[in-house]
Amino acid sequence: MGSSAVLLVEDNDINRDMLTRRLTRAGLTVLTAADGVSALNMMREHQPGVVLMDMTLPILDGWEATQQAKADSAISEIPIIALTAHAMAADKARAIEAGCSEYETKPIDFPILLAKIYQFLEGADT
């Protein structure tokens, strides 16, 4: 563990493109996946430092993918930040319950997201 890469899981092309570019501009290495299954594969293969997980995903949704990640000892330590347009209090609770370490709603407040990403990446380094 300890890769400084960020894995962005997002099925919406526009939002994935936008966030990839902004994270890259901020100096981060960004990996992308568009569904839950490829997200799990990418996590196992690349061991990213943090995962940004959209919840509404095709094939395997974000909650399910998070649960499976937490159940897999090879990748269970990787922190997952939920990124979702589901903004109700119950949605946050549901994300945390699934195993997400943090929760951010869309539209994304980029500086706060960035701060959280760095917090996890630095936490892994020390």
Binding site: N12, I14, P58, H86, A87, M88, T105, P107
Partner: protein
Amino acid sequence: MITARLGLRARLYLASGSILMLFAFNVATHLWGSYARSESVMAYRIATEATGLVRGIQQGLSTEHQRVQVLAALRETNAPIRATQRDQANAELASISDQLRALGGLSDVQTETAFREFYKVASDLLDEWVQFYRNYNNSALPTRLTANAYDATIDSLRTLADQQNAVALERSTVIDNTIQLTDRITIIAFVSSITITLVLILTLIRTTNASLFRLRVGVERFGAGDLTHRIDENRDAGEIANLAQTFNEMSASLQTAMSDLNEARADAEAANEAKSMFLANVSHELRTPLNAIIGYSEMLQDELGDGEDIDRDQFHHDLTTIIFSGRQLLALINDILDLSKIETGKMSVSVEPFNVAGLVVQVCDALSPLLAQNNNRLELHVDGAQDLEVESDPAKVQQILTNLFSNACKFTKNGVITVAADIRDNQIQLSVTDSGIGMTEEQQAKVFQAFVQADSKTSVNYGGTGLGLAIVSNFCDMLGGTIALTSSPGEGSRFEVSLPAAPM
């Protein structure tokens, strides 16, 4: 208990009737006893009178017999008797004869034979004595006296008296027994009347109490909210059964009212739940395009602020994305407003006559830029609806067609879109067929639900809000029609709408 099945009034009638009957029975036995007593007194009086007569007759006969004996002995000395003496003797004989008749009046069936026998011998004896006195002074005439006639008469009288005594004794025994019997019956009847009356009253109190207790328990259970409970109506009759039935009916109507109320509450809760779901979905849907708008705008602002050279093509592309997302947001807001109107029942239907063929052509014309965008070709079949006016809501039919047609344009590239309108069996038949990407069965099942697109990538690749088909489906319902979908992946989709051509 029999009384338990009777009504309250019937129980009271039964109890008072029984008591009255017992009372009447007591009075009757008492009257019977009094009658027996007066009979007894009467019989005693008759017996006493008869005994007196018998004694008088016996006395008279004996006196007369001695006198006749003496006179018979004196006649041989030829001593005549005086006329007064003879008259007195005749009067005495007549008196005896009266007494005989009086005795006859006291005799009854049992002593009649004995009396007749006695009367015959006594009359003969008296006749003989009358004859004796009449012939006494005339020595030429005989004064024959039958020997033993007197003794026979006295014997006969004794026999009669014995018989009369025996009869009187027998009668008095019977009467005594009757009096004893009636006395006993009176006492027994009195005691049993009291007992039966007490038992009846106690039973009446107990059964009525039990009935009222059942009612009270039932009403208490109703009061405690157990409306499924029913008071057993069959254990009573009359007023109490009616009361039980009324309580049961009350409980049943309360139960119905409660279940209506619960249903209404469940409906209200479901509506509230649906509203919350709707709000959550709206929030989710609005945030997705806003995320792109804000994200791209901030990114472009950052890029401008860097002072680096700007890639004009990339910049243009990013602005296009912002505009696309903004338009999508607008379309979404419009659709949400429509759907909200539908769901709150504020969307009204305004029916007016219009020409379907004309409407179809108008819609297809207006959307021709959309058709051209993906290089699609339009086929129109509206001949069947050309000259006919229908009555429906043209604005809603127009939106149905617009939504279906723009969907077809979005999901088809370099293909054919066929729009057909016809009027058959008083139904407007509209169909929009495309040769586009089509849908799997799983996708078809969800496509008419609000906030659902066949694929979550759809809105990015094809635009749209995921509300268009939900609105179409709702409008079809509101107009009293139906919508059907046939589709297979890669081969295209066909939406068929059928609406009544006149208000139902």
